[in-house]
């Protein structure tokens, strides 16, 4: 186990090192930078600024400087916001995380329940209906469904706010603040859930269909266990096993924010910040963010491997 961990961790370091170089190179080779986009600057001033920011240095030198600072926990200062990149992450990531955590929770809960029931009643009218609705939900683009729901629930019915995370000018505290955020989160969380639900439900349905045919399910029935136990104790645990791989992928998704949904609902999350920074070529922030996602992806993969060991007795690391 410990040799496995040591080996895995050293692989992770190698992968991240390679990823950091790739990320740096890609952003560095993208035409244009924060300075070239500003048309108010004279060429002399631009050259001067480039020297100040170190953009005139060779690529490798710039990478080593960036990497050296990053290893010390310093990802530089956002050019557009003039704040340390990590401070900005602190400000925005938790908003994204809140939205993603709530919608991930509902996505998984609904997907498991609907998937299990649809598999149990395969080819029934319920199953067919679920499959049709899921295809519909998967096919509609998020920007359309988002705007559509805003039109209905916010503009026409005035039930929910159209965007933002709090009401403008609100000073609510305590429970009032929680309720206010929940109110604002309802629509974006619903859209995110709807978008993720389709593929996950299909995934659980097909896993469950495979598991229900197994001999040990027949054994569980022959023992005289109630169907509820057959499905949720014997079948579901086995059907959930392959989904552990997905848990690893959920980690970057939880913190990575959503570019489109956060923009539509004006949610102050990291996805929206990323979009804005991209337009401004705010490379320190962009690189820091991409590196952050890379770290989460690698950690998520390790996490899912460790989870396999806990959940499946046949897995021995």
């Amino acid at each position: 186990m410990s040799t496995y961990l040591i080996r895995r961790l050293s692989y992770m370091l190698l992968i991240l090192l390679a990823a950091s170089f790739l990320i740096f190179a890609l952003y560095a080779l993208t035409p244009g930078d924060f300075i070239s986009g500003n048309i108010k600057l004279t060429p002399e001033r631009k050259a001067e600024l480039r020297m100040i920011y170190g953009l005139d240095q060779p690529l490798l030198d710039r990478y080593l400087t960036w990497m050296g600072n990053a290893l010390r926990g310093d990802f530089g200062i956002s050019l557009a916001q003039q704040k340390p990149v990590l401070t900005l992450f602190q400000d925005y990531i938790w908003n994204s995380f809140l939205l993603a955590a709530v919608s991930t929770f509902f996505t998984w809960l609904l997907a498991v329940v609907i998937g299990v029931l649809a598999a149990y009643r395969q080819y029934s009218w319920f199953d067919s209906l679920v499959m049709v609705l899921i295809f519909a939900a998967m096919s509609i683009p998020s920007f359309f469904i988002g705007l559509f729901l805003i039109k209905i629930f916010a503009v026409d019915l005035h039930w929910l706010p159209p965007g933002g995370m709090t009401t403008t000018g609100s000073n609510a505290e305590g429970w009032a603040y929680v309720l206010e955020v929940a109110d604002h989160m309802a629509l974006p969380a619903a859209v995110m859930t709807l978008l993720g639900l389709g593929s996950l439900t299909r995934y659980f349905r097909s896993n469950m269909i495979d598991v229900i045919k197994q001999d040990y399910i027949r054994t569980a029935r022959a023992k005289g266990l109630p169907e509820r136990k057959v499905l949720f104790t014997h079948a579901l645990r086995n059907a959930l096993l392959p989904a552990i791989t997905l848990v690893g992928f959920e980690l970057p998704a939880l913190f990575g924010g959503s570019l489109i949904i956060e923009s539509i609902f004006n949610w102050p999350g990291i996805g929206q910040l990323y979009m804005k920074s991209f337009g401004l070529r705010d490379y320190p922030l962009l690189m820091g963010f991409t590196m952050f996602i890379a770290v989460l992806t690698v950690v998520g993969t390790l996490l899912s491997d460790l989870l396999y060991r806990i959940a499946d007795p046949r897995v021995n690391l």
Binding site: Y216, R218, T219, A220, A222, K223, G224, H234, R237, R314
Partner: protein
Amino acid sequence: MEALLDIRELQTHFQTEAGVLRAVDGVSLRVREGETVCIVGESGCGKSMTAMSVLGLVEGPSGKVAGGEVRFGGRDLLRMSRQELRTLRGHELSMIFQEPMSSLNPVLTIGRQIAEPLREHLRLGRKEAMRRAVELIREVGISRPEQIADAYPHELSGGMLQRVMIAIAVSCKPKLLIADEPTTALDVTIQAQILDLLRGLQAKSGMALLLITHDLGVVAEMADYVIVMYAGKVVEEGEVERLFREPRHPYTQGLLRSKPVLGQVREELYSIPGQVPNPLELGAGCAFADRCEFAMDRCRRQEPPLAPVGSDQQAACWLHGKEG
């Protein structure tokens, strides 16, 4: 005395694209208390489906029990609610299967899987059920029962897993144990041990055994009474010694001739010519007629009924039927 299990005219059908497949077509059989009855036949003759129908485990929606009666302890299992039948399963009526390797849940411990029916049917508490599970593991002849209770199925051999399956099946002291090819997937030395174990448990508890097999050696060793099935029907049945000595149906005769005999040297083992007919293409006559060396015109026109041929033996063959 009324039989413990009394199956009458059981029909189990599967809806297929090519039509209705009669997997079990009018099977009747009886198992008395404490008795061992063997169902013998080739693959696909409907012997497993007969057992699955008794337990209500036929897989829907394509398959279903279409008719007949299955009386167990005086009650008709086919007319019971699913709930009532469930409380009998694993309790008074239990079953073990052919593949011990895949018949246990890979993510639950052995102890927990044995404890489950105890908790469900006998309402034992968690600790009491686990204690009983360890005892059961010892009773089916596995050493180090405490460790085995905490083990997972992948850590045990096929023979041990079949012992565990037997422990689960007998945990609630059933009146009838149905064993569907319990030794087929195991190697020969283990086969004998498993049969010994079943016999020992039967002698101790007095449960009846309905043993499904294609192996006549198993039949000779275990059975009191034998039922021979062919293409979803019973073609011959009788007390074991009579049936082995004087098989009356040509199919039974063929089966017995195709069994190797120790000490007898033959160039080539006999095999019944032809193949099991496609159950969707059965005509009006005897299903065995095409493979039968004694087949007459009548055999292809009219199906022979199961009729007594001497005491304690019946056969469905025109060779023994009344003339006319």
